[in-house]
């Protein structure tokens, strides 16, 4: 003897939804479904009654006996503009009463209506599967706070702060990546060279000064003096150059990071004019 509940399923859809019956049978193969489209209009006036359950009790019981089912499941689907409304009613054929009603009101969710139908039927059978929930989640638009991206402007900025041009490369902007990396590398190299020349001039100046004080030879004194004066001038020039280059390198480094953030990876869609000619010619 079959202990599983049996159902008479009445689908009232304002638009044809192919596969609905097939999917119900596939998903609930341990339950017995009877589908009947000839009974379409029996419950169309349901909401006009003060008590729809009692007003149809006799009919429900009669259908229960006729189709030998425990329950009658009425699924009404309406489409109002971009809204999808599923009104599910579950009647017990033994009492004739309406035992459960579920309304689902969704916007722009037309791809998900079959899944919702299955979830509603599953609900009446006390069955919920993760797959249905996952299907629902994949169709629904995401909560803006829950959206995560693989690449972000902040990720680009941090990378560029570590190595100039890296953030731009991460954002697939190869030209600006090369330019920033080249400029920063050149500035850094110039800074290092300026510092080395400054250091060399300073040391040379100290050395020439020392030599200048330790000799009495007029020729050598003159030579050390002119060398020390040149080293002094060079050390000032390289010192100023190093400071200027350090400022330029630092400013460029930060600018490169800001640039990586401003032009960092953000979602976008390019849309192009669809009408290629004038509206008159398009309409024919």
């Amino acid at each position: 003897m079959n202990q599983e509940p049996t159902y008479l399923v009445l689908n009232h859809f304002d638009k044809d939804i192919p596969e609905a019956e097939k999917l119900l049978v596939q998903n609930f193969n341990d339950s017995k479904f009877e589908f009947n489209t000839s009974l379409e209009n029996i419950f169309s006036d349901l909401d006009s009654h003060d008590n729809p359950a009692s007003s149809h009790m006799a009919k429900i019981k009669e259908l229960g006996k006729q189709y030998k089912v425990n329950f009658i499941l009425l699924n009404k689907i309406e489409h109002k503009e971009d809204r999808f409304i599923l009104d599910g009613l579950l009647f017990n054929t033994r009492s004739g009463g309406l035992i459960h009603r579920r309304k689902i009101n969704l916007k722009q969710y037309l791809d998900g209506q079959l899944n919702e139908l299955i979830m509603w039927v599953g609900n009446t059978l006390n069955r919920q599967e993760d797959e249905w929930q996952k299907n629902r989640e994949t169709i629904l638009f995401m909560d803006p706070e829950g959206i995560t991206y693989d690449k972000t402007p902040m990720g680009a900025a941090i990378r560029s702060l570590i190595a100039p041009g890296w953030g731009q490369a991460y954002s697939n902007k190869k030209v600006s990546s090369g330019v920033w990396a080249g400029v920063e590398a050149s500035l850094s190299l110039a800074l290092i060279l300026s510092y080395l020349n400054y250091d060399k001039s300073a040391k040379s100046f100290l050395n020439n000064t020392k030599m200048y004080h330790t000799t009495d030879d007029e020729k050598l004194v003159s030579q050390y003096r002119s060398s020390a004066e040149k080293d002094w001038n060079d050390h000032i020039i390289y010192s100023r150059l190093a400071i200027a280059l350090a400022s330029a390198t630092g400013t460029g480094w930060v600018s490169n990071s800001i640039h990586a953030w401003v032009f960092g990876p953000r979602p976008y869609t390019n849309i192009y004019q669809e009408w290629e000619t004038s509206p008159k010619s398009k309409k024919g």
């Binding site: 349901l46 909401d47 009654h49 003060d50 008590n51 729809p52 359950a53 009692s54 971009d82 009613l89 009463g97 309406l98 035992i99 459960h100 009603r101 579920r102 309304k103 689902i104 009101n105 969704l106 916007k107 722009q108 969710y109 609900n123 629902r136 629904l140 638009f141 995401m142 909560d143 803006p144 706070e145 959206i147 953000r266 979602p267 976008y268 869609t269 390019n270 849309i271 192009y272 004019q273 669809e274 009408w275 004038s278 509206p279």
Partner: protein
Amino acid sequence: MSDFYKFLSLILFGITIVFSQVKLDVSTIPKRVDIYLDGVNLGRSPISNERIKPGLHKFEIKKKGFAPLTYDLLVNPAQAIKLDFFLNPIYKIKFKTEEKGLVFELNGEHRWDVSFIRLDLEAGDHFLRVFKIGEIIDEQTIRVDEPKRFNYYLKKPLTSR
């Protein structure tokens, strides 16, 4: 003895009131959404085992960052009614064009003629109409499925053809 009958009547009346009400469960996606029933805040979703009288009721569902939903429902006597509401998120959208002299219209409501605009749009499909010198030059549906920027061009670049 008459007190007993009064008490019994009251009990029966109470039972009638309680049992004539319909058990109400409200689930929403996302969760923790404020649910208002006929202007009264029922609390945050999910709501279960709430009681509701049969008749016409107005539900209002509100959450910051999502489009509010108002729903009129005629509740008929039943053992239970379960309502599922899915709120549609609102995304921050930027719309940019480098084309000159265009006027854009979205969903037949919002118009702009500037090259860059920020919009808060409900997720889903939106109808875009483009005008140039007073004539419609383009109509298309754009899908808003995440916060993003739309760049509008009159012509596709040759490389992408």
